[in-house]
């Protein structure tokens, strides 16, 4: 009951910048839809490989030996 009331007044009262909450939420919606569409594509191989390659940044070419990680990415 209380919710309905406040909801109704919310939707007709312009908020910051003279915008109704309805318009604000609509803009937010479209903005996030556009953005999330790219986010959902995940990490392209190009970048995964780039970061993997730069794993040992120019330092001594020591074998990865950092205590207990069992992944053998790329090597045996």
């Amino acid at each position: 009951m209380k919710d309905l009331k406040s909801q109704a007044s919310k939707n007709t009262t312009p908020g910051k910048g003279g915008l109704t909450p309805e318009i604000q939420s609509r803009i937010g919606h479209q903005l996030r839809a556009m953005y999330d569409d790219v986010v959902r594509q995940g990490v392209p191989d190009r970048f995964a490989e780039l970061i993997k390659k730069l794993d040992a940044p120019g330092a001594t070419p020591q074998v990865e030996n950092d205590g207990g990680t069992n992944d053998n990415n790329g090597r045996e």
Binding site: Q24, D37, Q41, V43, P44, R46, F47
Partner: protein, 182 residues
């Protein structure tokens, strides 16, 4: 701090949102990926200056934003097939109505001044706090707030006629944007 395994994972985890930010800023998928690549290289080269425990995404976004800024200044924005390029990045083909609405939105976003656009994206899409957005953009929190508000007002004016009062239910908007009811 040194590039530990977990830091590397965190950087990798930030890549999808870095790309979304870059595409939102540049309106061009190919250029956005170049920006992301340069951001990663720069981040990895300067990883020592990253403070452990501080906000990694904010740090990466700052690098990308600064790169975009200097790039932008250098070559201005080429008027390119932003929409076409952007559409290429979409996995699913949206329905015709949704697509139209999407292009309208994209075009309106492109009309915003850059300051306002980036503030709106950081706060409204990337989900940064006003404080983080302010530190990414190198300005005061109040400045970010007013940029976001101005961005919203301008978008509303561009998309929903005169903003506030004229805004009707979804069907009305769809009919206006779509031009026909089917």
């Amino acid at each position: 701090m040194p590039l530990t395994e977990s830091l590397r994972d965190d950087i990798l985890a930030a890549v999808p949102s870095l790309r979304a930010f870059a595409i939102s800023l540049s309106g061009n998928a190919d250029r956005a990926d170049d920006l992301v690549q340069e951001t990663l290289l720069r981040a990895l080269a300067n990883i020592d200056s990253f403070q452990p425990g501080s906000n990694l995404p904010a740090w990466l976004f700052t690098i990308l934003r600064n790169l975009f800024r200097s790039d932008y200044r250098k070559r201005r924005r080429e008027v390119e097939d932003a929409e076409g390029n952007y559409a290429k990045t979409l996995k699913t083909q949206p329905s015709q109505n949704a697509h139209l609405e999407f292009e309208e939105f994209r075009a309106a976003l492109d009309k915003l001044p850059q300051d306002q656009r980036e503030a709106l994206i950081l706060v409204g899409a990337s989900g940064f706090s006003y404080e983080d957005a302010a530190s990414i953009c190198g300005c005061a929190v109040g400045t970010i707030k007013s940029r976001v508000n101005r961005a919203r007002s301008k978008l509303a004016a561009l998309l929903y006629v005169d903003g506030a009062e004229d805004f009707g239910p979804d069907e009305t908007v769809r009919a206006v944007i779509g031009g026909s009811g089917g």
